[in-house]
Symmetry: C2
């Protein structure tokens, strides 16, 4: 069988389009991005995109899903680590923030998707897909929710309402998606330091004790 190579090439073709689309959605928003824009960013035409995706909404959903899969993959290694919950939280939070930075175009698109879903700006069948994706994101939030609840039980976090605390925590951890942009001559250590400040801010916000 020589099907393995074509399949990989197809995945590659899709991945290239997804990446270009994510950047366009980040830079221009959903409605302001035309299929022609995405095609132009690829040095191609509409035909290429409509060959791999059924519609603009389908393309958008695919970027959304890819972004969420990246998030799951990023925190997966730390979910079931032994020890105190607050320790797991710190690892997961760090991985999450780092992911916001390295896959910013996809994460911005995820954000756009959530906003659109809250506004209900979709067709009935597309809405089903979006419901699935938003649930996927909600479940992802649930992972963190469980951890901070456990950490509170263990006396490491202090907060009133769990839902509000989780909202505020995610707001903080996601924020680099909006204001981070790479600086010239930026080192790995610079980014680590930045991520550290964000995680610390969220940690404090959750009522975590000051680390030494």
């Amino acid at each position: 069988m020589t099907l393995a190579v074509p399949e990989q090439m197809q995945d590659r073709a899709r991945a290239d389009i997804l990446s270009a689309a994510a950047t366009c959605f980040m830079e221009r928003g959903y409605s302001e991005t035309s299929i022609d824009d995405v095609a132009h960013a690829l040095g191609a035409t509409k035909g290429r995109i409509y060959h791999h995706f059924r519609s603009k909404a389908d393309l958008f959903s695919s970027v959304f899903r890819a972004g969420m899969e990246m998030n799951y993959a990023a925190v997966e290694p730390y979910r079931l680590l032994p020890g105190r919950a607050c320790g797991r939280w710190r690892r997961m939070a760090h991985a999450h923030v780092m992911q916001m930075i390295v896959s910013k175009p996809f994460q911005r698109t995820v954000w756009l998707g959530v906003e659109m879903h809250l506004r209900g700006a979709t067709t009935p069948q597309q809405r089903a897909v979006m419901n699935d994706l938003v649930r996927m994101r909600s479940d992802y939030g649930g992972i963190f929710r469980e951890v901070i609840v456990k950490a509170r039980e263990e006396g490491d976090f202090r907060f009133e309402d769990v839902s509000i605390a989780n909202q505020l925590m995610f707001t903080t951890l996601n924020s680099p998606v909006f204001w981070y942009s790479p600086r010239t001559g930026e080192t790995r250590a610079d980014i680590e330091n930045l991520v550290g400040q964000v995680v610390t801010c969220a940690w404090r916000g959750l009522g975590g004790r000051e680390e030494t």
Copy 2:
């Protein structure tokens, strides 16, 4: 002179349009909102809107400006209060969060405007107006920045980078704009409690000591 009444009526007519437009922009975004949508929300037609605003961009800018003016007005009473800076910060932060809730449609529009500006999705002349508005917002951020710097000098706040701290703080204080929605039977005390949790989270994030 009987001009006083017509002028007030004109302001009123503009204010009604601004309010309807803010709600539409919040619910649908900029591009997804048509002038016909805004007109329909008013029980009117396009003619009414184009009689008071030169273009869709002009209408949007006006909503943006109105939102920012509300913010300035909200924190103004506390800016120059005597005492420690962290005390002023708490008053200002409280007023700001409350403003995010009570004028949510306008604040969402402000957010949309900032996003659009960062993407540079405007015509040259419209860009001049947007530059002015974004500067207005930047100055508003500067007010808080001064206060948290002062509070750090006074030993009440602890954080590394001022810009990052200010970004994270605003992210937290603004967040209700995205997830708050009024509940049935909600009392004034409920809202105050909610605002309190948000302010406390930001306070902690800035490294403020635990209040008794």
